[in-house]
Assembly symmetry: C2
Homo-oligomer: 216 residues x 2
């Protein structure tokens, strides 16, 4: 088994690796709130365990074993988030920190039974896909609202920023997962948008539109 800390490194490398091939030491340090020197030490350890491919100064990628571990942590994180929201009535902006702890509970049996108990959900409360027990993960073809044109509509299906501040803002604007929206107007000066949700019309900044994902 891997330690709590090793699991966090693998998860961070997985998330950073989605956007670019080789992940750098400083990026990992920033993601984990630690220092580059500490990251280097851990990368050596993970490379010894054959969980990552690492050559000095060149950044890292996960091996398939490393990816398997990362996906199992992500599966646990997202299933626990679903549990917290759907069964214990937490709000979507309150679950992240608790799930960060729960994701390290090791029992595979536990997580599979939890999955069944909840009816095998496919997406977590933020719209992120939940890997299945074999580590298969659906790829989500979502677009930021900022990139769809005027008069196009779609269903809110995910967020890029998971911070409580952003999620609370979305709640206040009624921009929650599952809502159908339509882009009514795009301001050419500051790229802010006017969109309609149900029968309301709301004004959102470019930054918000960048972090709000819809399925067309």
């Amino acid at each position: 088994m891997n330690t709590f800390t090793e699991e966090n490194y693998l998860k961070a490398i997985y998330h950073l690796g989605i956007r670019e091939e080789n992940v750098g030491t400083n990026q990992i340090a920033a993601a984990l709130n630690t220092k580059a020197a500490s990251v280097t030490d851990m990368l050596k350890k993970l490379a010894d365990k054959e969980l990552i491919n690492y050559t000095r100064y060149q950044g890292v990628t996960l091996t398939s074993e490393g990816e398997k571990v990362a996906l199992s942590i992500i599966r646990k994180h997202r299933l626990w988030e679903y549990f917290l929201v759907e069964k214990l009535n937490f709000k979507w902006d309150e679950v992240h920190d608790v799930a960060e702890e729960l994701e390290h509970i090791s029992s595979q049996e536990l997580i599979d039974r939890l999955d069944d108990f909840m009816g095998n959900p496919k997406y977590d409360p933020h719209g992120d896909p939940i890997p299945d027990s074999k580590g298969q993960i659906r790829s989500h073809e979502l677009k930021p609202v900022s990139l769809v044109g005027v008069n196009r509509s779609g269903v809110i299906s995910g967020v890029r920023d998971h911070s409580p501040a952003f999620l609370q803002y979305l709640d206040k604007m009624c921009l929650t997962i599952g809502k159908k929206i339509k882009v009514e107007e795009i301001n050419t000066y500051d790229h802010s948008l006017i969109i309609s949700v149900e029968d309301k019309t709301v004004h959102i900044s470019r930054e918000v539109a960048n972090n709000l994902l819809i399925a067309l």
Copy 2:
């Protein structure tokens, strides 16, 4: 907050402290599968934090703060065991190790919501009382079957041995929590007993009778 390890020490001291006033270093070492020298180091740390009363060579007791922490761990352990059995259909002999991990999840909010979700159970699957959110714990007036006389009857309400082997044996004999039993006969040679459960009659050893607790 306290570390995972500190919490385990406090819990062990609490459990050992039920039977005798001052708990010794070796007893703690045995309970935690560690060495006496390691225990001494930790006792100094816990004493510095004012979680235990400790004088060299004299053993320890919990301070009221230490007891509060221990009871909160025990509350979490027992609520998670209840969840695993009642919601996820684990058997009573399968839940201990998973609960040992879950009990260290720190969120108070989580555990209180879990408690409400399950309808505020009073006893865990082994019949042990669950402390409430203020740390109040019911004291259980139970007797081992070995100490009740012939022809007395009562309801199985707890166990002294929580090992999977013992619990599986009880399952096989239908001696589970809530069953009403009656002591029919006591063998004066080896102190084994014949007891009736529902409409069956079963023969149990003195050792089993010692570890099976009933409410009269």
